[in-house]
């Protein structure tokens, strides 16, 4: 129960959401790394591996269309992981200790920053999508596909944000930043990032099969890959994977916060 006169959970979450959005407006270039890195990967990967679509079993003849959702997820993931870096900075500078003594429940302290990250993730996801479309990626999934893509990005951003929060609360230093980003990097690339499951060989085939991000990518690829049409069967596994990861990483973050 809140103390008499204490603000409710919603206004607190809203205020913290506004505060995390101010990072974008007041810190010049705050979103640049999360936006530029996926665009560079998009251009580089499609240029390097574009000819892979000539292999039997590749569902589309446009590698750019295959890789755009991956880069969107990557950008959203980096935006999410930045929540952890920002929290680590707040811990180092003592701001988070002051929040902890505020008369609000502790999970509310995480809701605002995670919502802020999800809002911020719209920027890299949209920039990557626009660059991809401008360079010739297709959009056969139409509006339903686009919705699936943005849901996948928002959900993955929240997962990455909770992972970043867990790492920040564990190590309590900004120096753990690379660990947050490399977690996102690994999660995305240990999936069907470059080729569909049928073309994966060796250990990566096994890893991609059990990695829930593979399902999230399928969800996102409904927008741009002609062989993966928007449908319930392509959507539900991705949503379930996102829900599972949110519960798992949310529990880890909350447990660490409780300590």
């Amino acid at each position: 129960m809140s103390a008499p006169g204490a603000p409710g959970a919603l206004p607190v979450a809203f205020a913290l959401w506004r505060r995390s959005l101010n990072e974008v407006l007041r810190v010049r270039g705050a979103l640049l790394p999360a936006t530029i890195a996926p665009v560079v990967f998009l251009l580089g990967m499609s240029g390097q591996f574009g000819r892979l679509t000539g292999l039997d079993g590749f569902p589309t003849d446009s590698y750019l269309s295959w890789i755009v959702p991956l880069s969107c997820l990557q950008g959203a993931g980096f935006a999410g992981a930045a929540t952890g870096s920002n929290l680590a900075r707040d811990i180092e500078q003592g701001w988070f200790d002051r929040l902890l003594v505020a008369p609000v429940s502790r999970p509310v302290l995480l809701v605002g920053p995670i919502l802020g990250a999800v809002t911020r993730s719209l920027v890299p996801a949209t920039v990557v999508l626009v660059v991809g479309l401008a360079l010739g990626a297709e959009l056969p999934g139409g509006i339903p596909g686009l919705i699936a893509l943005y849901v996948a990005c928002a959900g993955f951003c929240a997962v990455a944000g909770l992972w970043g929060v867990f790492i920040a609360l564990t190590f309590r230093t900004q120096q753990a930043g690379p660990l947050m980003q490399q977690g996102v990097f690994l999660a995305v690339f240990l999936s069907t990032a470059y080729t569909p499951e049928v073309l994966l060989r060796g250990w990566l085939a096994g890893a991609a099969e059990v990695n829930p991000v593979t399902q999230v990518l399928e969800l996102a690829r409904q927008a741009t890959v002609s062989g993966i049409e928007p449908s319930v069967s392509n959507t539900v596994p991705g949503l379930l994977a996102l829900a599972g990861m949110l519960v798992a990483f949310g529990a880890l973050a909350l447990r660490r916060l409780g300590r």
Binding site: G29, L32, P33, I36, A37, V40, F41, L43, G44, M45, S46, G47, Q48, F49, G50, R51, L52, G54, L55, Q175, A176, G177, P178, L179, Q182, F185, L186, F189, L190, A193, Y194, T195, L199, L200, R201, G202, W203, L204, A205
Partner: protein, 260 residues
């Protein structure tokens, strides 16, 4: 006598540059771990590419893409040492060095010596890990040694660019935020795929990227097949890059001193 003294200065600064980086593991993690992660994922994720008709006949796909990892390591070694120099400038250590009775160019070359050392360690590490995971290098030990030399010179060249930016701006944050641009240089070279199989735009761009010739040279050396890349052309490209960017860094230092 003077040359011997300056040599000792360069060596001391190079050693310091290396030990500072090894004491800050968060700086080293991306340079050693990230290229290996990318190698593992690309090796397994794109090995079906060997089924493409135009793909060259190679003994080991892993060995074919290791040169990309080595050059990525060289890029990151250069960037990391540029970031460390920017940190020295921001925290005032570089100003103390400027007051020391040594030639100013030794300060730049000393930093480059540290980059060279880091690159040698990285390349040996990458080659050993690739060997453990089944890569075969028909070029043998001589080719591996030549690869280490080529990668070292390339890292010095890329470190020169980072040092020039650090000296010009003195901003650690800027050096850290140019990290994604490292991949522009990597991806505009045939780092992980044969040049003939790159998309036309990238194939055209690759001609102007000196790393193209270095990565192909390393590929040719390790595979023992000069059709994949000419080692001498790679050496010329790496040396040209190193000389040009060290001159650029020295010029940036002179500019900085003028503005003090």
């Amino acid at each position: 006598m003077n040359a011997a003294r300056e040599g000792r200065v360069v060596l001391a600064l190079g050693r310091r540059s290396l030990s500072v980086q090894f004491r800050r593991a968060q700086l080293l993690m991306p340079t050693f771990v990230l290229p290996l992660m990318l190698l593992a994922v690309i090796a397994s994720g794109t090995s079906a590419a060997q089924d493409l008709r135009e793909f060259p006949d190679v003994a080991s796909y892993l060995a074919f893409i290791v040169p990309g990892t080595i050059i990525q390591g060289a890029l990151l070694a250069g960037l990391t040492s540029g970031a460390a120099l920017a940190a020295d400038i921001e925290f005032g250590f570089f100003d103390r060095l400027l007051a020391a009775p040594v030639r100013r160019t030794s300060l730049v070359i000393g930093r480059q010596a540290g980059t060279l050392g880091l690159s040698v360690l990285q390349t040996v590490f990458f080659l050993l890990v690739a060997l453990v995971f089944g890569a075969r290098f028909p070029g043998g030990v001589d080719a591996a040694l030549a690869t280490i030399v080529l990668a070292g010179i390339t890292a010095v060249g890329l470190g020169g660019i980072a040092a020039a930016i650090a000296l010009r701006t003195g901003s650690l944050a800027l050096l850290q935020s140019i990290f994604p641009f490292v991949f522009v240089l990597l991806f505009t070279a045939p780092a992980f795929f044969p040049r003939e199989l790159l998309t036309p735009v990238l194939r055209d761009a690759a001609v102007y990227n000196p790393l193209t010739y270095v990565v192909e040279a390393v590929r040719g050396l390790l595979a023992g097949d000069s059709a994949l890349g000419d080692p001498w052309v790679g050496l010329a490209a790496a040396l040209g890059l190193a000389i040009a960017t060290t001159a650029l860094a020295t010029f940036a230092l002179a500019q900085r001193l003028r503005s003090l």
